[in-house]
């Protein structure tokens, strides 16, 4: 009888944990930097979306290519039209799992590795991206910096402009999450 009670309790507690809230962010800041001999290019989007499930460690990001703002409007047009082909591939996304266990009830800064699939320009790449998760009084925020090789995602840079555009683009991602209440 005691065992049944224990098993039941354990099962219920697992259920409870699995039923924990998801964390979502609608204004993730995603920026890109390209440093080439003739030109530094940077762009930022403040409308990335992300969902984090603390129970499973699942983490997903998505951003509309058109939401990237460049200081030069012509660059923005070429980014969409010539490089990212945003009419064909409107979003870039990442779907992965945080490898480390994080206790989101405890304040702290957790260095993490997120393993998953990065989908840019319609080409998926398996990546492990290092980042940081910061928990502060129930607020969860994340940041990561990683490099994306244009060639890995079949983004062509013509030889005519190779001195303007770097072959490897530095990406910065930061997101602050809100708990999404379950019913």
């Amino acid at each position: 009888m005691k065992y049944i009670g224990l098993i039941l309790l354990a099962w219920l507690s697992i259920k409870n944990q699995a039923g924990q809230d998801l964390y979502a962010c609608k204004n993730a800041k995603i920026s890109l930097f390209s440093t080439a001999p003739l030109e530094d290019i940077s762009a930022v989007s403040n409308s990335g979306t992300s969902v984090y499930n603390p129970a499973t460690g699942d983490l997903a990001f998505s951003v509309a290519i058109r939401s990237f703002q460049f200081p030069k409007s012509l660059m923005q047009e070429h980014f969409n039209e010539n490089y990212m082909e945003s009419d064909k591939y409107p979003r870039a996304s990442f779907k992965g799992k945080i490898q480390e266990a994080i206790d989101i009830t405890k304040n702290g800064s957790y260095p993490v590795n997120v393993a998953g699939e990065l989908d840019v320009h319609g080409v998926k790449q398996t990546r492990t991206i290092p980042g940081t998760v910061v928990v502060n009084n129930g607020t969860v925020s994340m940041s990561a910096e990683f490099m994306v090789k244009c060639v890995d995602h079949k983004i062509d840079i013509p030889t005519l402009v190779f001195k303007h555009i770097a072959e490897t683009i530095k990406m910065n991602v930061s997101a602050t999450y809100m708990a999404v209440k379950s019913n």
Binding site: F33, T49, T56, R66, P71
Partner: protein, 314 residues
Amino acid sequence: MKKLIPLAACALISTGLWAQTTPAKSGNAADSLLNSMNADTKAEPVIATFKSTRLILGATTETVKKNNLNFLVIHRFGDIGGSQGGGKTFFGLDNSSDIYIGFEYGVSDNLDIDFGRSKFAQQIDLGLKYAMVHQTSDDATPFAVTLLGKAGVKAYEANNGEFPTFADRFAYVAQAIIARKFSSNFSLQVTPTFVRDNSPFPFLAGNERSFFAMGIAGRLKVTKRMGIVVDYAHPFSSFRSNANGDNAFYDPLGIGIEIETGGHVFTIVFSNAKAISETSYLSASQSDWGKGQFRLGFTISRMFSFNKKDKKAY
């Protein structure tokens, strides 16, 4: 113990049911949440219907964006064939029918001011171009509409009394440019136009001062940065249609390729129209493709950005 079994069963069933009715907080729930967050993204205006503000003869729906300056050099050589062409003029390369230097400045993302000076009639043009309607990605608006208005003054010294009054030097053009980007490779535009030229060239008795015209132009991209462009216009002018012999008029038609290299757009064309300014090529095209009276031409379009945030932000 026996009392507890039904209790446990109840608990099992209820928690089991609860687990079924509430979406499992696994990848699926996270996916659907992410999808729902991305679902409300609204339709975007279609960009880059054309690479440049000009195609061959006429303007496109594209405007110069805010605080950007587009610098244009447009050149038309002499006739390749016919009496003016051939080896003696190195197929027209020794002559220039028209040279146009233009500046287009973006007041806002949808409005630019155009200034240009032609060799042809030494005309100075000043115009406004306004992108009124943008095509949207969801086809709620299936095409873009840009309005263009230009006033030109023929500045050359008139020794034969061509311009009795100063007002006779003026010419105007009003256009509604309607374009659709059918795919990333294919764009097409039609341009209903009204021309008012106070002294239409050539100076012939009965030459109409006001007439309508229709332009049709398209671009087919061969690669991401290179495309084939075609531009044609027909003036609805009975004087021009009825003129024949040495005074015959021919509809302007240009065919070329367009190459984009970052900040520049180069267009290399063959065209029978000698003039570059709208009022001139619509009212004064008397060169015939069939007689070899077409010419090589090119357009260089260079975009400069003067955005202040360019330097400090990011």
